[in-house]
Amino acid sequence: MFDFMIAGVQAPIFLLVFVGFTVGIVGGFIGVGGGYMVTPALIVFGFPGYMASGIDMTHIAGKGLVSTLRHRQLGNIDWTMALTMVAGTMLGVELGVRTLVYFKNLGIAGVVLLVTSVVVMFSLFLYTQIETRRSHRQLKVMRTEGREMGRELHTSSLPKFFQSINLAPIVRCRTARVVVSMWVIVLVGVVTGFLAGFLGVGGGFIRVPALVYLVGASTHIAVGTDLVEIVFSGGYGALRHSIEGHVDMMAVVFMISGALFGAQIGSIATAYVRGPAIRYVLSYSLILATFGSVMRLAYVLTGQKVEWLSLIAVMLTLGEMIFLCLFIMSLLYFAWRNKRGAWVPDWVKSLVIS
């Protein structure tokens, strides 16, 4: 146990490093900061709520930088897209925070927040899961027919619509191989930033699907580019939270120590899988987070009397991190086996690179 003199709690170092490690793997793989998992986990460890948010945001900035460097090496970052989105994201976050304060003054922030997060996450889960399963089925058929499979396949028709919007200036995102109006990218930044600021998260779980399904970037590029945004929004969040007195730096250091290893595994794992594999993991993350939010909402709406609801929410938060981490490591293991010609389940063959 370590005595965090600023946070005023005692918490086990091992758990902080473990959380940093697991969320590092998940974040490096699907391009999220992991705040919707880490903040509840830190609260369960005993940190006050506002400090949990502050510690999480600050660690996300550092962890995001570790992942971004690796994704840069893998060629997963489209700098044009990233830098075009930054201003929109910052503006969106500021609007989101102000909207949250408005609801806070009305005294209904807690319920509105939980309901909004449930609706947003569930909708994203449904769309991502349905589209990814369609892509996976097509890849299976192509593999059976012996046709060549690229790194990515998605079946959504939304990108064509957004790419057809002819509003100057038009930007060429060379790495992503996308030509789109700058305003589409800025709009994605504003909307995702707004949701992030309002829900108090980094926004990766909204931005990655938005970049894939609206802008038309490949999943790998969406992950790497989103991590760049997370570095900026995490850094800005870290500054604001530190000034408000929400950050205990030792907790951040412990978590980044774990994230160092996790982020490497997660980022490098993207080199061994196709786009649908990443989208599957993202959709699982969304549905598990949705269940956790539903449990917490039910607990709040029942007047905080039904204790087992709160307990299930805690189990889901911790269990989700472990599950996603194990799933990603399984995919990596199967990819390694597949490359060596060893047996892997049928459903894996079209998801990994051989």
Binding site: P12, L15, V44, F45, G46, Y284, V314, M315, L316, T317, L318, G319, E320, I322, F323, L326, F327, S330, W343, P345, D346, W347
Partner: protein, 52 residues
């Protein structure tokens, strides 16, 4: 030729009853999730139960 009491398919890789959870994506998902929730519960009861 099959000798009495031996079924060659029972020993073939990927065909055993025990492999249902790995051959099916949903089975694999379910087993991993159950294990993860179990581990989370253990972590909670060992380290975190005293916290609010």
């Amino acid at each position: 030729m099959t000798t009495p009491g031996t079924d060659p398919t029972a020993t073939a890789k990927g065909n055993g009853m025990m492999k249902w959870w790995i051959n099916s994506m949903w089975g694999f998902w379910l087993v991993l999730l159950t294990f993860s929730l179990g581990l989370a519960t253990a972590i909670y009861y060992v380290w975190l139960k005293g916290n609010i």
